[in-house]
């Protein structure tokens, strides 16, 4: 790979909010950015905020964002000297990183070897054991369909079935017992294939009452590695992170620093360069085990930026440009508390994806609020990609202030067209178990029984009825689609007006 030189023009091999995030970091560093887009993404926000844009194919990511040749061709055509992969898509694809090097393009991320070492979950487990990093007991290697049942019995249910190439909560499922094995196997293999183009699977012992706590690391090309503290990611639905916070309310400073040191050791053991995340499972007993390393920027990175003041994406670009880290470990400190709510385009009740054209969008702002969005009013949330609309982040001087600020922001958030999980987030943030800070990954599965019918005290149905009546009458004011009842009511209204004048 070419020796690091300051980046001049960076192609962003991604879409959505992370592509917007990277374009912003580039602009702030005086680096030009190149967006790539699939056909339905021509008018997507990431295309509008970048300096340049280039098409890479039709809607399916398997024919556009995942096609290495198309991405490389776009980089050549636009004269990009570097590629930032974001997360997902080609972010943890070693062959792609190697291809970039072969083409003389700087890959903003670790070396192909580090990606292979960590990207393959089974490989990583072996490496970590060797490096003396604690790991969760599980299968030594990947498994064929006919091997899974026996291995599951050996480890003992409940077990976790995981895609070897998986990550970010995708391609994994908890299997409580033999009965659920077959359907889980089918689902995870298909999800692994469609999401990562690699359907190899392995099993891990399922730790009960586990916390998912991850540690952010940064490593430069001069051999320096630091950790940027932790993120608590235990609010999960179907193993999908929904809300993250930093610092973790579960661990104390002693464990915090111990995990940080282990994270640095884990990263250094594979010669890691750039921004990466070490995911740990922390048991109720506060013992922590290495789960996996994500060799890329993380969806939830903003909460770390809010509490440390460090711009992680700018750091990625500077590191890729050959700059040394400007901080020693002791220069990095947490201040206050940050929470992230992932706003998904989904039905608020069924959680089914609910795409659509955004007809109204009012995003909260003001003190302590950050919104990393992929959309704008008039944008289309399509069925082709992840349903994440934006990441809403709140910072507070302490955890309680951050929670109350987030609730304020969620109350201001208005979106029409796609569905959105605003009400679900409010339910979580108002839940005593979350408020106490003492929750694990079982929180949602155990506590969530659907949204409560009414909010404390208020009579939402009376308000809803009034809103509906107003909508009916005001709609007729605009005299659109006048129908029988409309006429009747218009007559009633004319009469009302007359009376009002004479009365």
């Amino acid at each position: 790979m070419p020796s690091p030189k300051p980046l001049r023009r960076v192609l962003i091999a991604n879409r959505g909010e992370i592509a917007v995030r990277i374009a912003r970091a580039c602009r702030e560093l005086g680096i030009e950015s190149v967006a790539v887009y699939s056909e339905p993404d021509r008018t997507a926000l990431h295309v509008q905020v970048a300096d340049f844009a280039y098409p890479v194919g039709p809607a399916p990511s398997s024919q556009s964002y995942l096609v290495v040749d198309n991405i490389i061709a776009a980089a050549k055509a636009t004269g990009a000297d570097a590629i930032h992969p974001g997360y997902g898509f080609l972010a943890e694809n070693a062959a792609f990183a190697r291809r970039c090097a072969a083409e003389g393009i700087t890959f903003v991320g670790p070396t192909p070897d580090a990606i292979i070492a960590m990207g393959d979950k089974v490989e990583a487990r072996k490496r970590m054991i060797a490096a003396g990093v604690p790991v969760v007991p599980g299968s030594k290697d990947t498994l064929r369909d006919d091997e899974v049942a026996a291995e599951a019995e050996r480890i003992g249910y409940p077990v976790m079935l995981k895609a070897s190439a998986g990550g970010g909560g995708k391609g994994m499922r908890m299997i409580p017992g033999k009965a659920e094995l077959a359907s889980a196997l089918r689902a995870v293999r298909s999800e692994a294939k469609s999401s990562f183009g690699d359907d190899r699977l392995y099993l891990e012992k399922f730790v009960l009452g586990p916390h998912h706590v991850e540690v952010q690391v940064l490593a430069d090309t001069h051999g320096h590695t630091v950790h940027v503290f932790e993120r608590e990611c235990s609010v999960q639905r179907r193993h999908q992170k929904v809300i993250e916070e930093s610092p973790s309310p579960f661990i104390d400073d002693k464990i915090r620093h111990a995990m940080g040191e282990v994270a640095v050791k884990a990263a250094a053991s594979v010669g890691y360069v750039g921004a990466g995340t070490i995911e740990f499972m922390v048991g109720a007993d506060k013992n922590f085990y290495f789960l996996e390393m994500n060799t890329r920027i993380q969806v939830e990175h903003p909460i770390t930026e809010m509490v440390t003041g460090i711009d992680l994406v700018q750091a990625q670009l500077r590191i890729a440009g050959g700059e040394p880290l400007p901080w020693r470990q002791q220069d990095i400190a947490q201040r206050g508390h940050a929470i992230e709510c992932r706003i998904y385009a989904e039905d608020p009740v069924t959680f089914f994806p609910a795409p659509g054209k955004i007809s109204l969008l009012r995003v909260p702002s003001g003190i302590g609020i950050r919104d990393d969005s992929s959309v704008y009013e008039g944008a289309e949330v399509t069925v082709h990609y992840d349903p994440m609309i934006s990441k809403l982040v709140a910072w507070g001087a302490d955890r309680d202030e951050a929670i109350r600020r987030m609730l304020r922001a969620l109350a201001e958030y208005r979106i029409q067209g796609p569905g959105a999980n605003i009400a679900f987030h409010r339910w979580v943030l108002e839940h005593p178990r979350f408020r106490s800070g003492n929750y694990d990954t079982n929180f949602i599965p155990q506590e969530y029984k659907g949204l409560p019918a009414a909010e404390d005290g208020a009579d939402p149905s009376a308000t809803a009825i009034i809103a509906a009546v107003v909508a009916m009458l005001e709609r007729q004011d605009r005299s659109t689609g006048a129908k029988a009842p409309a006429q009747a009511q218009s007559a009633w209204r004319a009469n009302a007006r007359r009376e009002a004048i004479h009365g």
Binding site: A187, V383, I422, P460, A467, V469, V470, E474
Partner: protein, 173 residues
């Protein structure tokens, strides 16, 4: 007010319950709305079609409403409540239910997507909540469940097939 016209009488259906509604327009955008005998002073402004700023007895309420016939989906701070409004003058005071009660059940796609697997066969007996099919959309798999007990009468799709939102996937009886 000394004199006034007859109020508009409506029956509202929300969360299964029926509520009596009377509406008097006091002035443009100013209404007196009575629900089950409880009167509310309402100042209603349209910010844009379907988006309103309401003052209800001095309470400030921002809401968005999607109207489809007599069905109104009201979004209050992220919480969606469906309200049906029936003009009781028109229906002689009887609210007409249009939802199908009982009878053969249709399993429909909740969103556009691709069929991953069919979990049942024609003739299978299913419980309420039994998984019938798995649909993939937006890179996530979603199990479509039976809304009630029945027997699979017909399966209209097969794995790999793309389906539209609302499309009928299977029939039970």
């Amino acid at each position: 007010m000394a004199r006034q016209q007859d109020p508009l009488k409506l029956s509202a259906r929300v969360d299964g319950a029926a509520r009596e509604v009377e509406v008097v327009e006091v002035a443009p955008h100013i209404y007196r709305i009575t629900i089950d005998g409880v009167e509310h002073a309402v100042d209603a402004r349209t910010l844009r079609p379907g988006s309103f700023s309401l003052l209800i007895d001095q309470h400030s309420v921002a809401c968005d409403v999607r109207t489809d016939g007599d069905k109104h989906r009201v979004d209050l701070a992220g919480r969606t409540i469906e309200v049906r409004l029936i003009d009781t003058l028109r229906h002689g005071g009887v609210a007409v239910e249009t939802e199908t009660v009982g009878g053969p059940q249709e399993i429909r796609a909740m969103m556009p997507g691709k069929i991953v697997t069919v979990l049942v066969a024609v003739g299978d007996a299913v419980e309420k909540g039994t998984g019938v099919l798995v649909v993939e959309a937006m890179k996530m798999e979603n199990e479509v469940k039976s809304a009630g007990p029945g027997v699979v009468k017909e399966i209209l799709v097969q794995p790999g097939q793309a389906v539209e939102s609302g499309e009928i996937l299977a029939r039970l009886e």
